[in-house]
């Protein structure tokens, strides 16, 4: 899927050392628009470091990052966002006492002479929320009164509204109930269906298999295997994550 198009994000041979720890030893991967890429791996495999590098928070020691074909040497969080790479933080960065529109338009409020165009913001929030199939009956309710899934929806809608093309989810369904994680998984599927590139990091393999198109297995700072989700199974992935089977054996 998406193999024939140019990737939205190309990462080549990224290396990163923290003191004595080699967090990433030459990671290469691509993310395509309209595709959900899952990055799996045990704790310490380098997933978080990779994500931090992609969102511009951490600078790699070497390697290259290309977004929409353009190479970025010193990616900062601001540049990453401008290039369309948006990370959904685990805390979601929402104001719990503020309503949907205020949260969605945070920093990009629609104003006229300093006055908020509340009506218009609410209408646009409504449209954006509906287009992503997020179930929020009333956009004037404070975000703190909404469910985890709805809150994640607002956070995502904000990133999309701000021009996000690649959305990175770090453990999107962690600490969520069944209904809520289903809503989030549906949202992620919807995003890729609408042509957004999505990367999810998750320990929850059933969820990974439910929504991803490709799975990228990381182990000890390296991508040991990239697989199409349809062409593998959970046992195989688990054995790769734990190192019970090496990439060479499972490879063709």
């Amino acid at each position: 899927m998406g193999d024939e198009k140019a990737p939205f994000l190309e990462v080549e041979n990224i290396k990163k050392v923290f003191g004595h720890v080699q967090a990433l030893r030459g990671v290469s991967m691509n993310a395509y628009e309209g595709e959900v890429l899952a990055i799996v791996g045990d704790n310490g495999a380098g997933k978080s470091t990779l994500i931090k590098i992609l969102s511009g928070v951490v600078h790699p020691d070497s390697g290259s990052i290309r977004i929409s074909g353009k190479e970025y040497r010193d990616l900062t969080p601001k540049k990453a966002i401008e290039a369309g790479v948006s990370t959904v933080y685990q805390d979601l960065a929402l104001g719990n006492t503020m309503d949907t529109a205020s949260n969605l338009f945070l920093g990009t409020e629609l104003t006229k002479g300093g006055f908020l165009k509340k009506k218009q913001m609410q209408e646009e929030a409504r449209r954006l929320i509906d287009s992503l199939d997020i179930q929020i009956p009333d956009v004037t309710v404070p975000a703190g009164d909404l469910s985890g899934g709805q809150r994640q929806g607002i956070a995502v809608a904000r990133l999309v509204h701000n021009g996000g093309r690649l959305l990175i989810f770090d453990e999107p369904t962690a600490a969520m109930g069944l209904n809520e994680s289903n809503a989030v998984l549906k949202l992620i599927k919807k995003l890729s269906g609408q042509g957004y590139a999505v990367i999810i990091i998750s320990h929850n393999l059933p969820h990974v298999f439910l929504i991803s198109d490709r799975i990228c297995v990381m182990r000890q700072g390296q991508v040991i295997q990239e697989l199409k989700t349809q062409e593998t199974n959970m046992d195989e992935i688990v054995s790769m994550i734990t190192g019970a089977v090496t990439a060479d054996i499972t490879g063709d």
Binding site: G95, N96, M98, S102, L106, G107, T111, L116, T140
Partner: protein
Amino acid sequence: MKNKRLHNYAYTFILLGVLVLLTVVMAAASPYFFSWKNCRNILNQSAIYLVLSIGMTFVISAGQIDLSVGALIGFSGMTMGLLCQAGASAFTAVFAGLAVSAVIGAVNGLLIAYGRINSFIVTLSVMTILRGIILIRMKSKSIFGFGPAFTFIGSGKVGPVNMPIVISLGIAAVGAVILHMTRFGNYCLFIGANEAALNRSGVNVKKYKVLLFSLCGLCAGVAGMIVTARLNSAEPLAGQGYEMDAIAATILGGTSMQGGKGSVIGTVIACFILNVMKNGLTLLAISPHYQQILTGLILLLSVLLSESKQRKKSEV
């Protein structure tokens, strides 16, 4: 979900009910209570607290606190007094007094935003520094002799109502519009709700903090102007302890001490509740010491009420 919005206003309606009830009880208890003279007195007294509390509502909405507003009343009064004494026009004196107050508020904000010091500590320090300067500069004596143009602010009338009421209700109306309808007000609330998120979204939070405290300082300056003009005298201890009344009115009005939630209308009603109570109890010849106890109890009760509501919400 449908009547959620109604639910948000529920507390304001409760406050309004309490105010009406209190008024009825006081009117029944004292025959003097409903005289026009007494009503005007209540309104006049409320005016000062009202102006002060509007500024405080912004600060507390942002999850901050400003303890320096009482001392700023004295400082703005002193500035106006000294200038009038030196022969400046009432207009110059007022302008300078308000400007000085706004600048001191901005200094509060600068220390809090750029010095990264807790607002409680900053404004507590500024409060004692200001009061010290006032006592030294005024040699602990009052300044008398303001011209009629200045005293008009305190005792002049527009139709049947006094100037302080016109000024304070005007400021309350502007405050309500700013807090609930502008980007500035929205950011004040968001600073209280999730400062880190606001920062991450690219908003210059520090700038807004400075503006916020400057606004609160300006309100205190206006309150100082009203106090001075009403007494026709700048007192070195003017406004002492007023910050507590302003905080009490703001919290009672439904603004959350944690920030992120504020109501100017609630503050206005709460101000009237506290002042009607004070006035009524005075008419009933109940000692002001008991009034203090009662004020404290009411505040505790209102916070308990809103906190329990909050807890219930977060448990769901």
